[in-house]
């Protein structure tokens, strides 16, 4: 095309585009320009909401466990934004487990409605008495590997390593359990959302001690997105939450803040230099392991510090590239498992002790293609858990279609086993 024709085309486009776009409405200024990150702290409506909530609670006007909702509660419900939580579903496929290890239980979850969840126990499968449209996900083993915590709807169950499961609490039809985690060896902290038919973005917590009635749900600040496995600190005082400024993942997903349950405030996770951190997990003594990824330097800095503090000295610095699997805390041995420098391709699997010591555990196979459909890198690869004999590693990935898939790698043979087929999503799988 000639320069003249180009210029004429440019004039045509500008003549149509500029006035048309100028005619588009723009909302009145809804916010003042706020300096770096200031908006992430308490906003005015959130402060007002918290004050109203506190006053209502003090006045005894609102019992969260009750269906008798007064005017104050209705007012609060109007203030709360967010969606109802419907819940996850499970699927029957349990990946192949070590045939020589008689008691290894593994757990698979996916979104196929109606299927009961199944822990795979080598040589057999044991059906759990949980089914229906609101079965939970993200099961977690107690650090000693003797108890498996899982939930469905408002009910919380304990499993043992033989696959036997019993219900320990039913929090009522108003709720569904969003997340749950161990507090010490005997208690469970459950984060609750409204049942789907009630809706809304409210959140509550309830502490449950095995053999006793669960504590009445206590309201949390609404709209927080609880994230992490487990989400709570071992003392039950903190939750890891997603504040939308994560590092180490392409789309900023992950727990990038901590929520102080008693004070009702969110604190962004940052290091001493003010760089954002992503929560990796909790140590047995209640410190938070977190990571900062630097794409330009190609490094991931791991930190360990009390929640709410800004650590300055990294526990370890390892190689990192975009797409590297995200590490996890191996609660049974109080160490961080990381695959330094590994994208979806082969990489060493490393254990970093809390004193900074490192041990190479195995060589990971290429367990996830770096090219999804459409040619995009898989978005997030999470390492999840490692078996006690260090033979199996579970992982989950978010693929280029945003589907969640989970599987197990046999670290001896390099065999990769997915917990669900190509056309399904499966969320979580935890080894003991």
């Amino acid at each position: 095309m000639s320069d003249r024709a180009d210029a004429e085309l440019d004039r045509f486009v500008a003549a149509r585009l500029v006035p048309a776009l100028d005619a588009l409405p723009v909302a009145p200024r809804a916010r003042q320009f706020e300096r770096a990150g200031a908006a992430r702290r308490w906003s005015a409506p959130a402060v007002v909401f918290a004050m109203v909530l506190a006053l209502v609670e003090l006045a005894g006007l609102w019992a969260p466990g009750s269906r008798a909702v007064g005017d104050a509660a209705r007012l609060i419900q109007r203030l709360i934004t967010g969606a109802s939580f419907v819940g996850y579903y499970f699927e029957l496929h349990a990946p192949d487990a070590d045939p020589h290890e008689g008691l290894r239980a593994i757990f698979a979850a996916n979104t196929l409605p109606g299927d009961p969840p199944v822990p795979g126990v080598s040589g057999s499968s044991v059906l759990l008495p949980i089914s229906g449209p609101a079965a939970g996900s993200d099961p977690s083993w107690r650090a000693d590997g003797e108890r498996l915590l899982l939930w469905a709807g408002a009910r919380i169950y304990l499993g043992d390593r033989t696959g036997h499961v019993r219900q320990i609490a039913d929090l009522g039809a108003e709720y569904v359990v969003l997340r749950a985690g161990w507090v010490g060896a005997d208690d469970v902290l459950a984060v609750l959302a409204p049942a789907p038919e009630i809706g809304g973005g409210a959140r509550w917590i309830s502490r449950i001690r095995v053999g006793t009635a669960p504590e009445a749900p206590r309201p949390l600040r609404a709209t927080i997105v609880v994230w992490g496995s487990p989400p709570n600190s071992p003392d039950g005082k903190w939750l890891t939450v997603d504040v939308g400024r994560g590092t180490c993942t392409r789309s900023g997903f992950g727990a990038s803040g901590v929520y102080d349950i008693d004070r009702g405030i969110v604190v962004d996770l940052v290091n001493g230099a003010g760089q954002p951190l992503m929560a990796v997990g909790w140590t047995i003594d209640g410190r938070l392991v977190s990571a900062h990824c630097d794409g330009q330097r190609g490094t991931m800095e791991l930190y360990v510090a009390p929640p709410g503090s800004a650590p300055s000295v990294p526990l370890a610095t390892v190689a990192w590239i975009r797409g590297s699997p995200l590490p996890f805390v191996d609660a049974a041995r109080d160490r961080v498992i990381v695959a330094p420098g590994g994208g979806p391709g082969p990489a060493s699997l490393l254990a970093v002790a809390l004193d900074g010591g490192r041990t190479v555990l195995a060589q990971l196979p290429a367990f996830a293609s770096d090219e999804g459909e459409g040619g995009q890198l898989l978005r997030i690869v999470y390492l999840r858990s490692i078996s006690r004999d260090e033979r199996f590693l579970s992982f989950s990935i978010t693929d280029a279609k945003d589907r969640r898939r989970t599987g197990v790698i046999d670290l001896v043979t390099g065999k990769v086993m997915y917990a669900c087929s190509d056309d399904r999503e499966c969320y979580q799988l935890t080894l003991r």
């Binding site: 095309m1 180009d6 085309l9 440019d10 045509f12 486009v13 500008a14 149509r16 585009l17 500029v18 048309a20 776009l21 100028d22 005619a23 588009l24 409405p25 723009v26 909302a27 200024r29 809804a30 916010r31 320009f33 706020e34 300096r35 770096a36 990150g37 908006a39 992430r40 702290r41 934004t81 967010g82 969606a83 109802s84 939580f85 419907v86 819940g87 973005g201 997105v225 939308g244 400024r245 392409r250 789309s251 900023g252 997903f253 604190v267 962004d268 940052v270 230099a273 003010g274 760089q275 954002p276 978005r379 978010t398 945003d402």
Partner: protein, 194 residues
């Protein structure tokens, strides 16, 4: 909480020399700034925010087909600018557009996943989105590929040069040139047919 570099400081930037005067006049009039007031090297970001926000919001909404998250993305882009905008920016608006566009893509991906996980409500089109849908230009823009829309708006609405587009949006210069030519031709074809 992320530490900001120096919240009290006004970042130095330079106005791109070839910004269309008509746009300057229109924008300054829109925010009530005297038309003879130029943006100096010491112009505070707050002033730039007031001056450029309307055009950025429109550009981003038109480029992505929705107002969802646009205000947040613009705000985040300014926060980013305070922290790390290059001192020799030729097109502040263009740089902000590129940063906000990236933020917006991430936000939308993130929102989509949260919705899939039932952790966020389904998007409800608001009044602004309905207005966008009704706008005649929307039909034409929707028929273009997302990248074509973004580039066309960058060039013709925000007045970015191809070098600036390539630099800020991290695209090869040749790709930008070819994509804009293709998009412009397609735009004209669609408009002529309308």
């Amino acid at each position: 909480m992320g530490a900001c570099s120096d919240p009290g400081r006004s970042r130095v930037y330079s106005q791109r020399p070839d910004a269309p005067q008509e746009r300057e006049r229109r924008e300054t009039a829109e925010v009530g700034v005297a038309s003879d007031q130029t943006v100096s090297a010491e112009t505070p970001w707050e002033t730039i925010y007031v001056r450029t926000r309307p055009a950025l919001v429109r550009a981003l909404a038109a480029a992505t087909g929705s107002y969802e998250g646009v205000e947040d993305a613009v705000h985040d882009a300014f926060v980013e600018a305070v922290r790390r905008a290059p001192a020799d920016l030729r097109s502040v608006e263009g740089w902000l557009y590129a940063v906000a566009l990236n933020r917006l893509r991430s936000q939308r991906r993130r929102a989509a996943i949260l919705r899939r996980l039932r952790l966020a409500p389904a998007a409800q089109p608001g009044e602004l989105d309905r207005a966008l849908t009704r706008a005649d230009i929307s039909k034409t823009l929707r028929a273009l590929a997302p990248r074509e829309r973004e580039l066309l708006i960058a060039k013709h609405y925000l007045g970015m040069t191809q070098e600036e587009i390539a630099s800020y949006m991290r695209l090869p210069r040749g790709t930008v040139s070819a994509a804009i030519s293709r998009a412009a031709a397609r735009f004209r074809e669609l408009e002529d047919r309308r």
